[in-house]
């Protein structure tokens, strides 16, 4: 583990405390149908329309595994540099809840499909490796809706039986910022792989957060609390900040931590004990008698490995080498698959350095401003490339390009069209420029004399006048050249 970043510590009344965090991420597998049935997984459908007799656990129904979900789990495991277990077993995790029609969740307990792996986090001061403990396949539960009816809960089973990957990290994270970096990296890897869409608003990615504290320098782990089902990075960070302070206060006042499940109340910004769930911890796992053990063919694993796409870490290395980017720039441009695709599309036909600056500068700013993703950008990669090209080929100046960009970001129009319609082309005809320059020089004979007698600073004045006269369209480079000649 490389610990370059500044340590995140909690200053208690007596001591400094280190926060130790491990995450259990639940990532929805991207697939057409559910893990053990042929119902659709599409988000946002009418309630209970994507439910088969298997999903609502009618008597006598048997689960049949979706081979694609298995491949997706293997693919994710390989993307996390993890050990793929050729032999794994599905178990029943038993508990009662209104949105769990089977009375148990089919999950993997002792023999998960994926074992230990590792993720590299890109932190401001360097990188850090975080261990993955395991990844297993399991069913999602349905959705309970408490706020439609005052005295009843409504149950929608559309999500029931959708495939999830539970990805368990080792307790290697040490601060809210590392947690954010971890989630972002994991999400990015899965999006590159196409195994999870990472959409946190739609619940495709949620996490249980395990938090404990220990005095700075201690090596033994403290007692942890598990904060259940947090669905945004911001809430994870808020929950960790609250929970670690709570634990420090308890320990410093001589009390001990109860190992328990807690809930993060986003409105009150606090964690609360979920005592009602305590009994449910006795899950009585046992191998599901409806399912045989899963034996993976080595050839299948190798085929998936061979077909893996380029992942963010490799892409970053390549970008640094091929496009002379700094590690920081490369990190930003590979952080999301869509961004790196956009960048690579733009540089196919335009200058790399300009492309990088325009994308990371003006384009990102306009996307942030509108709070949209690069996929929704009105300026498509091809048009961005055209804009950049018209700068490097001298059709317009960088300054005029900004003007064109402002129009493009609203209308998505073709840059060439805008330049033509508005007559923004640079004046690059030397004869035309000479005419303007001659006029300026004859209008300002006194200043020209002063310049010739050594007042170098006046050069800028002449350039300014020429630009003004040309309506900002004179090619600055040419203006400089001609002026220098004429003022000799």
């Amino acid at each position: 583990m490389i610990e370059k970043s500044e340590k995140y510590l909690i200053n208690g009344a007596k001591d400094k405390w280190e926060v130790v965090i491990g995450l259990e991420v639940h990532a929805q597998v991207t697939s057409n149908s559910k893990l053990f049935s042929g119902s659709s997984t599409t988000f946002g459908a009418e309630p209970n329309t994507q439910v088969s007799l298997v999903d609502c656990a009618f008597p006598g129904m048997l689960p049949v595994i979706n081979e694609y979900c298995v491949q997706q789990a293997v693919k994710t495991g390989l993307g996390l540099n993890a050990k793929i277990n050729a032999y794994s077993v599905f178990d029943r995790k038993n508990y009662f809840y209104a949105d769990l029609p089977q009375g148990y969740q089919i999950s993997q307990y002792k023999n998960p499909i994926v074992g230990e792996g590792e993720i590299t986090l890109d932190l401001p001061n360097g990188s850090k490796k975080v261990g993955i403990e395991r990844l297993h396949l399991e069913q999602d539960a349905g959705k309970s809706i408490h706020d439609i009816d005052l005295s009843n809960t409504f149950v929608d089973l559309n999500r029931s039986g959708v495939a999830l990957m539970e990805i368990v990290s080792k307790p290697d994270l040490r601060s809210p910022d590392e947690v954010s970096a971890y989630i972002k990296k994991l999400r990015s890897i899965m999006k590159y792989l196409g195994t999870c869409d990472g959409n946190m608003q739609e619940g495709s990615l949620r996490a249980d957060v395990n938090v404990s504290v220990r005095k700075e320098g201690d090596t033994k782990l403290g007692t942890r609390c598990e904060i259940k089902n947090v669905n945004s990075i911001k809430f994870m960070q808020m929950a960790i900040i609250y929970e670690s302070k709570r634990q420090v206060e308890l320990l410093e006042s001589g009390k001990s931590i109860d190992q328990e499940t807690r809930l993060f109340d986003t409105k009150k910004n606090e964690t609360r004990s979920m005592r009602s769930k305590e009994d449910a911890h006795d899950y009585r796992y046992f191998p599901d008698p409806d399912l045989l053990p899963l034996n993976l063919d080595k050839k299948l694993i190798e085929k998936i490995r061979k077909d893996l796409p380029e992942l963010p870490d490799e892409k970053k290395e390549r970008f640094i080498k091929e496009h002379s980017l700094t590690p920081y720039e490369a990190n930003v441009l590979v952080s999301e698959k869509e961004i790196s695709n956009y960048f690579e599309e733009v540089i196919k036909s335009s200058d790399k350095k300009l492309a990088k600056n325009w994308i990371m500068g003006d384009l990102f700013a306009s996307l942030n401003e509108k709070n949209i993703s690069i996929l929704e950008s009105p300026i498509k990669a091809k048009k961005m490339a055209e804009l950049i090209d018209s700068i490097s080929s001298g059709v317009i100046s960088g300054r005029t390009a900004k003007e064109v960009f402002e129009i493009m970001k609203e209308t998505g129009e073709d840059p060439k069209q805008i330049i033509e319609n508005k007559g923004l082309q640079q004046k690059s005809d030397p004869k035309e420029l000479e005419k303007i320059i001659d006029k300026i020089l004859s209008d300002n004979k006194d200043k020209a004399e002063q310049y010739k007698s050594g007042k170098d600073k006046l050069f800028g004045f002449f350039v300014g006048q020429v630009m003004k006269e040309s309506g900002g369209k004179a090619n600055p480079q040419l203006v400089n050249e001609i002026l220098k000649k004429k003022l000799k």
Binding site: L53, I65, N66, A98
Partner: protein, 95 residues
């Protein structure tokens, strides 16, 4: 392993099955003797034997990732003790 009344109470609570005192006692007795019988297996030496999760020596059957089920809302809601046009309706459950 002997199964005492507390164990029976714990299991019945987890299984949401209510038992009266008499039943609890008789179940404790029955289950204890069942376990005693099963525990004879512990006499076997299983040091070098991998745990078995299925006695069938067959591969797991799988299906292709195609949507060919669902869209039967009326049918699945039909047998629900309480429902409306769209949802299963259950007594308020909230943590």
């Amino acid at each position: 392993m002997s199964i005492d009344k507390d164990k029976i109470k714990h299991i019945s609570k987890l299984a949401r099955i209510s038992l009266d005192a008499k039943k609890t006692e008789s179940l404790a007795k029955d289950l204890s003797s069942i376990f005693k019988f099963i525990e004879q297996l512990n006499e076997l030496n299983t040091d070098k034997i991998e745990p078995l999760s299925s006695i069938l020596n067959e591969p797991l059957r799988s299906r292709k990732d195609v949507v060919n089920d669902g869209k039967i809302r009326e049918r699945i809601l039909e047998n629900s003790p309480q429902k409306n046009d769209e949802f299963f309706v259950v007594p308020k459950v909230i943590d």
